[in-house]
Symmetry: C2
């Protein structure tokens, strides 16, 4: 596999978004330190997760969709000449990333993950703090409660960044948030109920990846551009569908075959949690009796490294990895075909194409 680096266009957006988020949170921290040092702690935990980085993919899809629509209407358009427009779109991009931070903090509690972006997760860090201070109560309940609250705070702050956006943008934002929660609900419920079929995997991927990661961010960017060209919304949907599935297929692959150090999180958790993925659905469908016996261990919390290795080997032997790679390639070709026809400025299409390739072939 080649080693794709994050495209330059994505880093440009990441810088704009990170500056906005860190400024905003620093302001909140200062405000709350004045009130009560203890209350300000919650803001600082959130800052630490935001500072740990991330690919800022949602912000990038949003920004380039906005830019593409803007430049199509006015080929001389330069964002830096329109500071109000720019700060409007950067707020929306920052809101998307802060909402994602909230979702990750809560997901890490739900999956009991230890690491995220190479850093101890919030609930794990709080469990350590509780233990070190020999506080009263149960360390797990404390750590998880604090992480849920820090996540909720991020959720509210993300919404504050959306406060000045027009109603049309806020409506998309609201749909996105409902779908994110219901997609996550289906994910958790399917893992528990061992609903590991293709249909469930595709449904989860649709809500958690296609809509949440690509379609709605791009729709938000488009709506913020005030470009009213008919048909753009439809072509954004047609671009998001294959690309979202490709994103999720790559995510599923990395969750089992990725490099833990590079990903900044441990490998194998997806197998311990029995997440519904197309990769697993394919493996289960194509496994022989012996292979099926090994795959039946998926969902057991006490899988050790050798179990993970054996299960991974079986998944590969069923042809599931080949299937996933082939699907990703053909989905990306479909997405690029839609992109070619989109009425966006060329420079934005190049950025989106490079993002699409990154989404499909990334190793982080």
């Amino acid at each position: 596999m080649n080693k794709p680096v994050q495209p330059q266009q994505s880093r440009l957006v990441a810088d704009l978004v990170d500056n906005r988020l860190l400024d905003f949170l620093e302001g909140e921290n200062k405000k709350w330190v004045e009130v009560d040092n203890r209350m300000a702690e919650a803001v600082s935990y959130l800052q630490s997760v935001v500072e740990s980085g991330g690919k800022r993919l949602r912000a990038s899809f949003c920004y380039w969709s906005w830019y593409g629509a803007k430049v199509t209407e006015d080929p001389t358009y330069e964002p830096q000449d329109h500071p109000e427009d720019l700060s409007g779109i950067v707020d929306v991009c920052a809101a998307l990333e802060l909402l994602h931070t909230f979702a990750l903090i809560h997901d890490d509690v739900m999956d009991d993950s230890n690491m995220r972006r190479g850093q101890t997760t919030v609930h794990r860090g709080q469990i350590q703090r509780f233990t070190e201070k020999a506080w009263t109560g149960e360390s797990r309940r404390f750590g998880e409660s604090i992480a849920v609250l820090v996540g909720n705070l991020g959720h509210v702050y993300s919404d504050i960044l959306m406060a000045n956006a027009p109603l049309e943008a806020r409506t998309i934002w609201n749909d996105l948030r409902v779908e994110l929660n219901l997609g996550q609900y289906l994910d958790i419920r399917s893992a528990a109920a061992s609903d590991l079929d293709f249909e469930t995997a595709k449904q989860v991927a649709w809500y958690k990846s296609a809509l949440y990661t690509i379609y709605h961010p791009m729709q938000l960017g488009f709506v913020m551009s005030s470009n009213t060209t008919p048909g753009i919304s439809r072509s954004v949907a047609r671009f998001s569908e294959p690309l979202g599935r490709a994103f999720q297929l790559r995510d599923d692959y990395l969750g089992i075959f990725g490099d833990a150090e590079r990903l900044g999180k441990p490998i194998g958790d997806d197998l311990r949690d029995a997440k519904p993925t197309e990769l697993m659905a394919y493996a289960l469908q194509h496994a022989d009796q012996d292979q099926r016996l090994i795959l039946s261990k998926v969902g057991s919390a006490d899988l050790v490294e050798s179990d993970i290795a054996a299960i991974s080997e079986v998944i590969r032997a069923t042809g599931a990895v080949g299937y996933v790679e082939q699907e990703i390639e053909s989905l990306i070709v479909s997405a690029e075909r839609v992109l070619d026809e989109m009425p966006y400025a060329t420079v934005a299409k190049q950025a989106l194409s490079s993002l699409a390739r990154y989404v499909a072939s990334r190793n982080v």
Copy 2:
């Protein structure tokens, strides 16, 4: 103690709000059943908590503040003659109650409460469901994850009910949500760290009761009225401060001396969790050495009924209950004095006065 029933004015608002919430959630449920029955489950769990009732105090404070400001400007004003105004304020009231539903669902996870409003809490219900179905994973993690997600869904829906409110109202709404989360953070953190002093108890009461339960709901109602009389905002603040403390003092009293059946939740959890309350701060400050020994058991998760009884007895013996009752009475007198001078229509002042009395003397 007399047995106050919920004032009629509060029931009127509760009916308006409940109808709006149940209609809204039923619409969402129908929409999601079409998509995926499993995803719609999350909506139905939320419906069940909303249907279990509640005092709808926040909605009542909001509504009567709105109505008072409206009628002051136009003594002939009748809400039913202005359906757009009415649906606007009912949406804001419904948003407050749905946000409160979200907060309660999350609080019940954080406190591991079994019952709420006479009904099994969401996470406990989901733990039962998981066990009955013999699903894969850990029942506690599943139940708590689902409850966090159902709460998050309520949070998003509450925000959707605020979507059409003017920016000024949404700004108050955003402040309220930040403060709610940070107040709850301080509560959980102080319980763990055994910060049971007066200052901490008052700080928590200020954020969780005065601001969240009274001040911000009344500010929201005032802003929605478009009445711009100077000074109203200041007098709302002066009314909320003593009343919020009285509300919290009654809450603390009921948490230890209330009637479990009437409250619809068990007694003693506040002692197991060592919540920072003025009641406890007073007791600790006035306890002799023997009493202090008994109070030192507060915060232990395995307190049995006889421990709870012994601790309650000590709290009473220190004079803490007398202190609380006296404080409540004098706070209510202060609140009513402010209310008298408020430039609100008499009928609204009567409603707010009866709400204030109820808040102070309720037994549920």
